[in-house]
Every structure is written in C-alpha cells, then in structure tokens.
C-alpha cells in the first residue's frame, strides 16, 4: 500500500467515524469552507505561539494618543472612508493599560518626551509601536528646533515607521497592515533605540549644568538628557 492510499484511507475513516458519531444528515454548519480547506478533520493543529501571534495580529487595540498634525490623519483613518476597523485594528483605547499598539502621531518635544515614555511603560507586554510622520523619524521639519527630540526612537523602540508630513491615512493603514504581518510572523522589532532607559540624575556626568541643577533635582529622579551636539 502506497503512502497516498494510506492517507486517503485514514481520511475516509475519520470522516466516517465523525459521521457515525453525528448520525445521518450532517448539520450544514460543518460543511464550511474551512472544512473543505482542511480536509475532513474539523481540527487545525498549530503551535500555540503561532496561534497567539495570529490572534494578536488580528485584534489590535490601539492607544488613543493624539499629539500633533498627524493625529488628524489618524482620526481620518479611523473614520468612514478609510475605516481601519476592516483590518481588526479599529478599537482605540484611552488607557495605555488596555492597549497593545501605540501610534505616535507627531513631534515629540523635551517636555513631552518623559510623559510619552511613561505612557509606553504603562502598556502591557507585548507592545508594538508605529511611528507616524517625519517628526517621529527624525524631527521632521522641526529638526533644528531647540526643543525638539530628533525622532521617537530616542525614547522608545519602534516597529514600523510611516514617513510623510503627514502620511495619508492610506499610508497609515498600510503601516498597520505591515505591522500585523510582522506580528503574525512572530517577528520582533529590531531594537535600534539609543538611550531607551532614562538615566538617574545622580549618574549624570558632572558638568556646569548638572552642578547648577544638583540642588533642585533629587538624586533618585529619572532624567532625560538632550545632547544636541551628538545628532
């Protein structure tokens, strides 16, 4: 007996066993496309990890997070015409504790950087970041500003960059789809972050500025340091 016939026989047997269990006149619900695709057996065997990745990719809760101009296009991509909900990513959550994707839509400035880091830290693992617009890539048109952080990767790691100023909603939808692909395939983001963890004030190298602030800032305070010269 060749392998093929053996397989065929087993399938036939499975089908008949099932039919035997259900009795005659099988419920139409079981004759689904899925069943046709997978053959007779109504079971799909997979790895649990793969299954979880598939689930994660198809049901993403995005953090409701508006910063600047790009957030207007982000609203539009939730809206009627572009409707990102078609792809299972259209449930914005207002609390970071309920979200697993954060879209960073706008310029990050020195005052907001630490706050955004805190919001990111509050999200449960696994979490994914889409950076939207040129400002989050490099500082964009405001790169030369005294107060502007040159890209969101100075603070948090990023999975997908969507360039544009601002990107069209279609571009953002494409970015989300690419992220879903990545998640489904179980790929993690290349970590390209520079400082990522904030320093404690006490660990800073002492210079004139540190000395000046030493009285005002607690040694245990976490601080961010912007060294524009290193850009």
């Amino acid at each position: 007996m060749s392998e093929n016939t053996e397989l065929h026989d087993t399938l036939e047997q499975a089908q008949s066993t099932q039919e035997a269990r259900m009795g005659s006149g099988v419920d139409d619900r079981f004759n689904s496309k899925l069943r046709k695709a997978f053959g007779a057996s109504p079971f799909v065997l997979t790895k649990f990890d793969q299954f979880m990745n598939w689930v994660r990719g198809n049901s993403m809760f995005v953090l409701l997070f508006g910063i600047a101009c790009c957030s207007i296009e982000m609203m539009h991509h939730y809206g009627t015409k572009h409707d990102v909900d078609r792809f299972g990513a259209g449930v914005p959550r207002a609390s970071p504790r309920q979200a697993d994707v954060i879209i960073v839509p706008g310029t990050i400035v020195s005052k907001f950087g630490p706050r955004m880091k805190r919001v990111y830290d509050q999200m449960p693992e696994p979490k994914f970041v889409v950076s939207m617009g040129s400002c989050t890539i490099s500082g964009g048109p405001f790169q030369e500003g005294y107060n502007v952080i040159k890209g969101v990767e100075e603070i948090i790691p990023v999975d997908i960059h969507v360039p544009g100023c601002p990107p069209r909603p279609e571009a953002l939808v494409y970015g989300i789809l690419k992220l879903q692909e990545q998640i489904r395939a179980g790929e993690s983001a290349p970590v390209t972050v520079k400082p990522y963890e904030l320093q404690q004030f006490g660990e800073l190298e002492g210079d004139a500025l540190v000395q000046k602030l030493a009285d005002e800032i607690d040694e245990d305070d976490l601080v961010m340091r912007y060294d524009w010269a290193q850009v």
Binding site: G66, T107, M224, W228
Partner: protein, 558 residues
C-alpha cells in the same frame, strides 16, 4: 448707518474713524519717551516703570480695549516688549507701545493688572526671551520645562548645550492631595497631558472640591516645537510658507498661510492680483469649514461620547472637503498653496469639472448642516449639558483677549474679515454670526452657523471664478526672487483664522530672513479664559468648556 446711535468718539479718534496720534501722545503725557513708525501703526516708546498706567489710560479713555499681542525681542543694545493694542469696535485703529529695557537689568512693569491676557504673553516673553516683568502675578516658565537653562530666542543662546528634563516618576501623586486650607477637603488632580478630553497634549492641573473645580491651571508647552525659531531661520520667499500649515493643523492651513502672506506682503509692499485673492478667499473658507467640522465633531465626542454619529458625519464631510482641497492644492492637510504675491497655481483643469464638484458640495452641505442641528442643537441631551455652562461674559472675554467664535459666542460683534478687510471679503455678501448666550451652546452654534456663511462665500467665489475672463487670470504678481525688506521695518498684521485673530509680527533687518517673527495665536489667548469658565463648575462642564474653546495645541504651544 443712519439708524444707529452716533458713535461716541474716543480720545484721539477723528470723526472719520482715523487715529490722531498726537492727541494720544498728549493723553499719555510724560510716559512717552519717543515715537516710532511701524507699518501698521505708530508706536509710542514708553518708560518701563509706567506700563500699567499707560495701558489703563489707553483702555479707559481712548477705547483701546484689545491687547492683541505682546512681542518680546532682544536687540544688541536693549530688550523690547511691544504691546499691540487695538479696539474691538474698529480693529483698524491700532497703537503699539514699545517698552525698552536695558540689557543689564531686563525688567519692566507688567501689564497683567490691566489686561488679563498679558499674563501668559509676558510669561512667554520671560520664558523665551528672558525679560522680567515686575508685579507680574505668576512669572515662571510657560512653554519650556522648569529646569530649562537659558532663553532660546535671545541672541547669544547656544542650542548645542545639553539640557536636562526630569521625569519625576517617583513623586507620590497623592502627596499634594490636600492643597487648600487644613479643614477643607480638596483634591489635586492632573488631567493630561495624555488624555482624550484635552484635544492633544494639554495638561490641566486642577484642584477639586468634590466634583467641583476650585482652581484650574493649564500647563502648556508639550507641543512647543519652536515655530518662531523655524521662521526666523527661513527665507521669506519660500521657506517660511510650509510652517503656518502646522500651527493650526486642523486643516486650517490656508487661513494660517494667509496670516503670514498678509504680513509679509504688507511688509515688502507686494501686490496680489484680484484673481488670486478670489482663489485665496474660496480656499480659505473651505479650510474654515473643515476646521469647524472637526471642532463640532470632537465637541460632540466630549459632551456625550458620540463617536458613531456626529463625529463620523463630521469626518465624512471633512473627507469631501479635503478632496476639493486636494484637487486644488495637491495636499490633504499641509497645503503650502499660498505664495507671497498670489497662489502657487491656478485651479485644476478641467475647470468646469472642478466647479461642478464644488457646487455639488455647497448644494448639499446646507442639508447636512440641518442634520447637525438636529443631532446637536435640537438635541435635549446636548442642550442639558451645554446651555448655561461655561459662562464667559463679554467683558471678561475682552480682557482675556478672546477672539473668533469664542468671542462671537459671547455676543461681541468682531470679525477681522469684515472689520479689517483683506482678500476679497469686502466685495462679497455674508454675515458675521454672533450669539448672546455666552455659554458652551452659543459657541457651538456660532461655529455651525459660520459654516453656512462660509458656504455662501464659496458659492459667490465660484460664480466669480467661472465668469473670470481668460486673459486676466494672473495668479502671482512679480515678486523678486530674493526678498529683502528694508532694514528695521516692523509690522503686525492679523487675519481671521479658524480659531480667531491670528496675528504675525515681523521685524526685518535687511536680510532675506526675519529678525523677529512672532505669532499671535488665537488659541493661546482663548485657552487662558478657561479659568473664568471652569472655576466653580463641575468637572464635566470644564471638559465641555474646553471643547467649546476649540483649542489646537499646535497653535497654543507653537
């Protein structure tokens, strides 16, 4: 108009509605050290210890009840604060007070005791330029973090020096819980900077007594991306124009571009062809509709969480109008369409098809507007939430320098499109919408009705453009490739943006880049009046008041 009461003339006002600067100088007497000529008006140089008296004399006796802006700047030999004064009755009557201080001791008297709006303007001047104001109620940094070292818009600021911003994660947020007197039971609550009701990255420090707001202190600067610095290091001709789109980014781009175009065109004495003015007027009103739609949509979202109906309807209509704008300018949001002396290019070909599309929109929009009225202003739930909440009396609104729909919702008839005409507005038929309600409802209604007027303006513009003779379609006047306005000319010009009076101050130093570029942001001034509306009210009413102010953080922080 003959039926109106004869207008009582203020001191220094001629019967023709002009200003008699000599009479005003006499009124101020010895506080005036010198007089300067700016392009928009005359300026009096005032002694730095006499600012409050001069401001209050001008307000009480000469009718200058609108402190439009305070510009601070540093020269090689001195610091200067310029108080740009106007009248709400007639904004073409302008006067600037220039307050010089020495470099060694940059301190002048604060104007905050006369105009409440001066409070934030002077804090900003302190923050960015480093001028100190005596008798200021609360002089501390406003846009930059508290630990910032140096004043970024001063002349010798070194941007490459590292800065430290603390993340006070370990502070116990409940520590400051009891802020009031010992026997009171108040609570300190942070709202924002990441909060869905704050329309972006606004941070409200509130003190609550139960559910009532005792004190609210907006903490801004979470989107301060150095717009003024960007404009000061860009050339007039091409490089500045993309930035205005990003101040008020709610599709109000062309309105903002117009503010810069108007100031720079008057500064460099450029003409704009009439045809281009009509295109500007039409596209600017499209932007106003888009901006007001989002304001109404998010307001409904704030009031009763209406994500599915009104917000989505507003987004749908915005998509329609953004299609029109994209056909015209090539971009959905950041248009970069205006040029000094005109617009970038003519209407899209085929023109008939474009006019047809615009007509289609203007024809169906009034019906949509009725739908918005049915869903919002006729809705009992909405009325219960917004009528008689967030009261802003007209006198308070004026002292806080409010403009735009916020001011018109307090019953003050003030619209720069009519009162200080520019573009093609004075040739067209339309009305200024006001509402005496002074509450959240009035402000929302004013926005809805303004969209109807914008539709009227667009319709008339389309009629004009359709008939425009083909050989007269000049879209730009002749503008020198490198624009270098005369040295030491100063100008302050404003247009009616989506949120109110958007003013630009430019001082030129003879190069192709401005020496000082100051943005008078309407949302910045309007936001200041939140304390009037919110204090003593419930927390949800504060959220409603914030929504009805329709701030956009890009413009507040610049």
């Amino acid at each position: 108009m003959s039926l109106e009461q004869p207008h009582q003339l203020d001191v220094g006002e001629t019967p023709e509605g002009e200003l008699d600067y000599d009479a005003l100088a006499d009124l101020l007497g010895e506080s005036v050290i010198d007089r300067e000529e700016h392009i928009n008006c005359e300026a009096f140089v005032i002694r730095p210890d006499d600012v409050a008296r001069a401001l209050s004399t001008l307000r009480e006796e000469a009718g200058f009840d609108h402190l439009s802006c305070v510009t601070a700047q540093e020269y090689r030999d001195r610091y200067e604060s310029i108080y740009h004064l106007k009248k709400y009755d007639d904004p073409t009557q302008e006067l600037s007070l220039v307050v010089p201080t020495t470099r060694e001791n940059p301190a002048s008297q604060s104007g905050a005791s006369v105009f409440d709006t001066a409070n934030w303007h002077e804090r900003e001047a302190y923050d960015l330029v480093g001028i100190e104001y005596d008798d200021h109620p609360d002089l501390r940094r406003i846009l930059l973090p508290e630990t910032w070292q140096g004043y970024p818009l001063s002349l010798d600021y070194n941007q490459d020096k590292p800065q430290i911003v603390p993340l006070r994660e370990h502070v116990n947020p409940m520590e400051t819980r009891n802020k009031g007197a010992d026997d009171s039971d108040t609570m300190f609550l942070n709202i924002g900077p990441h909060h869905p009701a704050t329309h972006g990255v606004l941070h409200l420090r509130t003190v609550l007594d139960g559910e009532q707001v005792v004190d609210v202190d907006p903490d801004i600067g979470y989107l301060h991306r150095c717009e003024e610095q960007m404009c000061q290091q860009s050339t007039y001709r091409h490089q500045i124009m993309p930035y205005p789109d990003r101040w008020d980014y709610i599709s109000a781009g062309i309105l903002n571009e117009w503010a810069y175009a108007r100031a720079a065109e008057d500064l460099a004495d450029l003409d704009v062809p009439e045809y281009a003015q009509v295109i500007r007027t039409m596209s600017a009103e499209m932007c106003r509709i888009a901006a007001h739609l989002l304001a109404v949509g998010t307001f409904a979202l704030d009031i009763y969480g209406d994500f599915t109906a009104i917000f989505m309807y507003a987004i749908t209509d915005r998509e329609r109008i953004e299609n029109l704008l994209e056909d015209l300018t090539g971009q959905r949001l950041m248009f970069n369409y205006l040029r000094l002396g005109g617009v970038a290019w003519d209407l899209p070909e085929p023109r008939d098809r474009y006019f047809e599309k615009v007509r289609e929109f203007t024809d169906q929009f009034p019906d949509r507007l009725e739908e918005y009225h049915n869903l919002l202003t006729n809705n009992e739930l909405f009325q219960m939430r917004v009528i008689d909440t967030g009261i802003l009396p007209p006198e308070e609104a004026k002292r806080y320098g409010c403009t735009g729909p916020v001011l018109r919702g307090s019953g003050v008839d003030y619209d720069l499109r009519r009162d200080d005409p520019y573009g093609y507005y004075d040739e067209l038929e339309w009305d200024v919408i006001t509402d005496d309600g002074c509450d959240n409802f009035a402000r929302a209604r004013v926005r809805l009705e303004e969209m109807r007027q914008s539709i009227r303006i667009i319709e008339q513009c389309v009629d004009l453009l359709e008939e425009w003779p083909e050989d007269d379609r000049q879209i730009q006047s002749n503008v020198p490739r490198t624009l270098k306005p005369d040295s030491d000319t100063e100008i302050y010009r404003a247009v009616e943006g989506a949120k109110g009076e958007l003013g630009i101050y430019i001082r030129s130093d003879g190069t192709d880049k401005p020496a000082r570029f100051k943005i008078r942001s309407p949302a910045f001034c309007n936001l200041q009046s939140l304390e009037v509306m919110a204090e003593g009210e419930y927390v949800p009413d504060m959220v409603a008041a914030l929504g009805s102010l329709d701030i956009v953080l890009g413009e507040v922080d610049r």
